[in-house]
Amino acid sequence: MTILELTILIWLGSLVAGFLGSLTGLGGGVVIVPLLALVFGVDIRYAIGASLVSVIATSSGAAAAYVKEGFSNIRIGMFLEMATTLGAFAGAALAARISTASISVIFGIVLIYSAYLSGRSQRERLSDRPPDALATRLKMDASYPTPEGPKTYHVYAIPGGFSLMFIAGGLSGLLGIGSGAVKVIGMDQIMRIPFKVSTTTSNFMIGVTAAASAGIYLNRGYIDPGLAMPVMLGVLVGSLLGARILVGAKTRLLRIIFGGVILVLGIEMIFNGLTGRL
């Protein structure tokens, strides 16, 4: 296979990954790394490096719209980025010290958990508790647009959410994914931020977290421009297409199918990691 043919194949695979990742809200990173490692036989650390570059691009591209529309809460995002960035540094540093088999097994576990999350229903959970003193001090309480007009919300349990963000950042640095699922759990279920604000703020944070990890991967030589180029362009175009179609698409069935695919990939990653095939 020539370099041009391989580049086109990786670009097409990344396009599909970005498209499905955008439609299902799981992001392209969870598919790109197994795709490169299992299908194209790329070393998992180089696959993670290429995935991180694509995660930065897609996160920034999508966040631009969400921030402008007022869904993302920049104050919360920037505050929690301190934890995710530190976690990302720790995760990326750890990735160079542990074996590719261990990374593969951890990746598989995260994929299985993501598959489980993709099948769950999403609902708004606004709390009627009095405002949190720390959140008020940090001016985190805000509002977000709804068809009925702006809806105000309060933010709670900041230390708990901050701690979970460190883990989310660690997973991002270790596995080259956005780890948006963990970030959303932290904001939606622990900090009681409305689901829409949680997902869009998580989207905004993912790029910053990935940029921190990518710096370390770049420094260690794990970002190969020839591999990162088709992956970044493919995932970016795919996610933009997915975001356009998302408005009118019925994503419930798609999420279940995609969840099934991720489950199979997760099992395969664990199996290959345990049997030393990666």
């Binding site: 631009a64 993302s72 920049i74 180029m229 088709p230």
Partner: protein, 43 residues
């Protein structure tokens, strides 16, 4: 002495960040595309 203390509102800040993000992604994508074409022609 006059001080112009025009604090930015959250909406203005959101708009600025949004424009910066969009321009950054567009510039990065163009650089990667240009570099990629150059790389493929060369190899």
């Amino acid at each position: 002495m006059l001080h112009s203390k025009r604090a930015w509102t959250d909406e203005q800040m959101n708009r600025i960040i949004s424009v910066l993000l969009r321009s950054g992604v567009l510039a990065a994508a163009l650089v990667v595309l240009g570099g990629g074409i150059f790389y493929l022609i060369r190899y």
